[in-house]
Symmetry: C2
Subunit: 160 residues, 2 copies
Amino acid sequence: MRHPKLEIIDALVQSSFVVQQILTEVGEQHDLSVIQIRLLGVLRDRQLRMAPLAAILGLSKSSTTGLVDRAERRALVQRVSVPVGDERAVHVTLSDEGRRLAQQGTAEIAERLNALAGQLSDSGRQHLARALTQLVYAAADSRGLDLRANLIKSTSVAVA
Amino acid sequence: MRHPKLEIIDALVQSSFVVQQILTEVGEQHDLSVIQIRLLGVLRDRQLRMAPLAAILGLSKSSTTGLVDRAERRALVQRVSVPVGDERAVHVTLSDEGRRLAQQGTAEIAERLNALAGQLSDSGRQHLARALTQLVYAAADSRGLDLRANLIKSTSVAVA
DNA sequence: TATTGTTATACTCTATAACTATA
DNA sequence: TATAGTTATAGAGTATAACAATA
């Protein structure tokens, strides 16, 4: 091997910074923070009320209010009244521009990550995807989350 | 497999959030943000002046001033004058309490990550460490960094 | 009374530009 | 003049507590 192999703990931590840095850089090109990218990703294939949105993003409800405020000011999302039922509730939805940005951002992130993963052998990528999948599911299990029901259906940046 | 395997892009992004969430949670238990943990990690085995510290953390110099201010207010680090040479320069060093926190935080992060990685087979962990190492080095190469010279010598949370 | 979401407030984190002190 | 670091200022992101409107 050209380089000394990292211990698995160091490898996990450092690679997480590598990936987050890519998310940050792709976001910067569109003046989006990582949390804004996640907001767009979460909303890509659904509308959500404020409380579930806060739960998925792991934010307090007031933080979510501010996050959606700033995205709405930029016309990336809209608050629309829930068609039937609770008058207090709102649905947060992507605007056309928000959807465009979500798709473009996702594509750029995939491109950047594929460039890195492309340096691995085919079997290396297979092993990596398998091991990381187990890790992600183990983490979700330990929190009592059901990834399959909740999160996987959305884009890769939708999850925490 | 119990769960559908994630595509490698999704696996990388989602696992990065899993790891970052663990860093966040371990930090919270000690009232530390992720960037404060990294600050302590970077300083664990060296003193640094403000400019190199900013470069390693990827921050502007004024952001670094604020970060060190807040850490110094909590007596986790100290600014000491450089013994000989430039009168304008300072060295940032860990206090005893900062060192204690750095060690404890690192241990707790390792414990949490080992609990997750422990669900993998031995060969799964081997493959994972190898593949992630390649990824980290590929990312460093693409930025012209020399990880071996600069960063690896420090703790796993020292790097971006 | 309970719930949904916002507002008030405060702090961390970040950046750019202007500044001070030393080289 | 140039460099090391701080200060001034502004804004995003986060949380807790108090609030208004609706259920």
